[in-house]
Symmetry: C2
């Protein structure tokens, strides 16, 4: 794909065909500028098979906004649509529709509220609320989901890895195993969710972080092929990067060659007044090898050097490594806490692909449409009540208990303000027998989660930088109940509806089902 | 990410930091223009957990070549590298290195051979062979792997889905669940591997395929919210697209509302002389629903309409659906073969993410370096012999038996030509007790797999279009033994070494291990 092809493939046509056929149908029926509301949300936490998330980290909004800002129906897009024909050979899109797209086929009419990036989020809560002319709000669907689903998925995985890694530095190493150019969005999301740095140079340049890395196995191979040795390769590295000497010790044999050679070179550096940075282990039994390497480094007086671990790490593998280090270190006179505090995790494939659950099932559902200045709620009746979206305009509030921990996210109708209620009965979203009543005294604070992002296409929001998102993430995670933060079998965080929203949903389901029965006569 | 940030993030700096620190080290040691060879290959077929692949489909080369053609160290890249500092605050990259990058930091010196896209490929076979000046061949690693790993992964998954779908039409629907912009590479790879069309409009525009789709649930919801009904929505669709009327029937209730309403509208279309296209089922028990829908459509005289199935399909789900259709159809007076022949599969999340195995572990290993006009083989001694790459210059040949089926891929040294040998002893790559001898009469043909792609940076290859790749794919799959094509527990296809290559590898492992023992004195 050359540059001009890429522009075409990633511009306004970065969408599904049915969005265009829908928009055209709305145009034909004079519905295309009807004001509509779509809610974006996900239904389930990522389930990685043997373990699952108890919370997610929101991410992706800024890059979606960048895409919306740039996407246009230019002459090239319109020329392409002009070539599309149906089965009969007749054009799918007539000139009057293309004219409308040329003039109004952009996102200048979109108003958006959203939960900011970096915040802890939960299922069935609207994360992004889009209002605007029906045709363009519809065309937006695919790209919105594409931009948000993946970054939420990766920010969430990164948060899990950061949690299990006891706050040690996490390096994102996944570029080579990522899904093509998705690598950049993945690295960004990892930095929001829990990674401290990435090896991805271009993305680091764009975001203003220092890219990280060690050296390649091939450097050692090269020196050996040329008749030299591993220690010669290490010496060369120490020579060129005396202040940043981090040596990859597993090209030949970690404990018999790599670590001893690294220590030899570290001693040379020390004698010249430099402080070696550390070693990297990239294969084998990382727990055992890190204990042995620590022991050898300690004996040589390099207690402060880092030990970077990599090779198919994820939250479960890191957990296993930590467990094994705690169990086995004492046998080798290595203090497990000291060892754990010098570890750095290089996490590649399993972070950038969200191993175990490589997609988030985020959806974008029509929830209301404006007719004669009146908003009508819309609903999709699916097989299961749990998949039926919550209709209409809503607000989202986070309720904190007296410990300062988040106890529920509450969805209310537009005109309900939970802070003004004496007590609140909050309902399970699908099971009518499940509800609880919260007295005002049980609640320490109530926080609205959705903020204004776009007003008629204009950005009305100060986009935070990644460091601010990380601060917000840390604050939100700190305010989760420990049960929700667990790696395995986390507690279910409550996402609830007010009584009025619950009733609206039930009434709508009933009336839609009735409408249907009235329409069908087999 | 705005357009200029994207250019920076996806250009020459679309690589890992250590590639740049390596290149700089080679520059400092005068090694940067040493001619070196790297082999790209993968070690294992994708393993999806409960099932795994017995062959892969090669893909991604053309987009890699496009990237290589465009990537440059422009002023912007060099300015960024100038800002990089180490722990001491000292610059990592000096001006003389940046000058070299400015002048020679491109891929004009790269010579490349590769197995073409669309071909069946196997583990441990060099798919892409790169020769060139060490520094640039090194910098290429990350982007090469990023471009090739994902497309091979998706082309392979698509081929599995096409196989299990008995050749019925496969539609790629994954844009919203893909890993950000990786969606486009994924859709392309799906089209190479087994999908017939994609819903992705921009990518279809670039590749010259018609994008496919039906309509949105939201169209039906909208009509209902506005006081109309599902049948009104269907009528509108039939009105605007009378020749392309494919109706999504599960917004309200598939069998009680959607299918009867679709039939009503199809009858109206028929009375006006149009031929309805079909229906789409997107939730519920797809096997049961498709049988019931077929029965109802047949009764109304619409035996030819398509039934598009979607909702988390992959090769195993389609297999289950087909099994259930064969078992249950007769009970409802539906012929299973007729039903299966009208099915179309819309495959989204699980194709575009390669569900079960979201990454291919492709690697790029230094195998030889040129010193004083002599090529020296290079090797990485890992923990396991099976992970040790095959050293030196090699050719790759596919041997076909007397049935015309591929029986082995054979790796030979540069000067070995298997067609000229009377009989061949071919060796298991890691187990020295496993080998077999093939007489010339057992072999019907021997095909070299690697073709010349770049000669000193110049394209010397006619890039095939996707249709040609598909023809090649079909031909290659047809020539696989049925055991290798199986969905579950496929036979292991033989990838073998000649005796001389096997000996070279063993000698090199021994001599490297000796060198190491000589170097290490603890």
């Amino acid at each position: 794909m050359n540059a001009s092809e890429q522009r075409l493939a990633e511009g306004m046509l970065y969408t599904d065909q049915y969005q265009l056929t829908m928009a055209n149908l709305y145009f034909r029926y004079g519905m295309h500028e009807k004001y509509a509301q779509f809610d974006h949300f996900f239904r389930d936490y990522p389930d990685y098979g043997t373990h699952r998330a108890g919370f997610c980290i929101n991410a992706g909004l800024e890059w979606l906004l960048d895409w919306m800002d740039q996407a246009r129906f230019t002459q090239e897009e319109l020329d392409y649509l002009r070539t599309q024909v149906g089965q009969s050979g007749k054009r799918l899109f007539d000139e009057d529709f293309l004219d409308w797209l040329r003039n109004y086929g952009n996102f200048a009419g979109i108003t958006m509220r959203a939960i900011p990036e970096g915040r802890v989020v939960h299922p069935n809560v609207p994360l992004t609320v889009v209002q605007g002319p029906l045709a363009m709000a519809q065309i937006l669907e695919t790209s919105l989901l594409n931009h948000l689903n993946y970054q939420i998925l990766i920010a969430t995985k990164a948060a899990r890895i950061k949690e299990i890694g006891r706050g040690q530095v996490i390096l994102e190493f996944g570029l080579r195993r990522a899904h093509d150019k998705g690598a950049n969005a993945g690295a960004r999301a990892a930095l929001i969710g829990g990674a401290d740095f990435t090896s991805n140079v271009g993305l680091s340049a764009v975001l203003g972080y220092a890219p990280k890395g060690t050296h390649a196995h091939s450097m050692v191979q090269l020196f050996i092929a040329l008749g030299m040795s591993e220690v010669d390769a290490f010496r060369a590295y120490a020579d060129v990067y005396p202040d940043d000497c981090l040596l990859l010790v597993d090209t030949v044999n970690t404990l018999e060659s790599g670590v001893p050679n690294a220590i030899k070179v570290f001693e040379e550096l020390r004698s010249k007044g430099y402080k070696p940075v550390g070693i990297r282990l990239d294969s084998g039994d990382l727990a055992y090898l890190s204990i042995q390497a620590a022991r050898m480094l300690n004996q040589a007086g390099f207690e402060d050097t880092s030990i970077v671990l990599s090779n198919n790490l994820d939250e479960m593998v890191i957990w296993q490594i930590l467990t094994q280090i705690v169990d086995e270190s004492p046998r080798y006179q290595v203090d497990p806490d000291d060892l754990i505090k010098r570890l750095v995790y290089g996490v590649g494939t399993r972070l950038i692909t969200s191993w175990g659950e490589p997609a988030l099932g985020g959806v974008y559902k029509l929830v209301a449409v404006c007719e004669n200045d009146k908003w009508l709620p819309a609903i999709k009746i699916s097989e299961s009540l749990s998949k039926t979206p919550n209709p209409g305009h809503k607000h989202v509030w986070r309720l904190y208990d007296q410990r300062g921990k988040a106890t529920a996210d509450l969805l209310t109708l537009d005109d309900e303000v939970p802070g003004k209620m004496e007590s609140m009965t909050i309902h399970h979203p699908t099971n009518h027998s499940k509800y609880r009543t919260l007295r005002h005294t049980e609640i320490s604070s109530i926080e609205p989660l959705l903020v204004d992002i776009l007003q008629d296409g204009k950005l009305v929001y100060d986009l935070p930088d990644i460091n601010s998102m990380r601060d917000q993430r840390n604050k939100d995670i700190e305010r989760l109940d420990p049960g929700v933060r667990r790696m395995m079998n986390p507690h279910i965080y409550h996402v609830s509806l007010t009584k009025r929203l619950w009733d609206l949903k039930q009434n709508l389901i009933e009336s839609t089902t009735n409408t249907v029965s009235n329409n069908v006569r087999i």
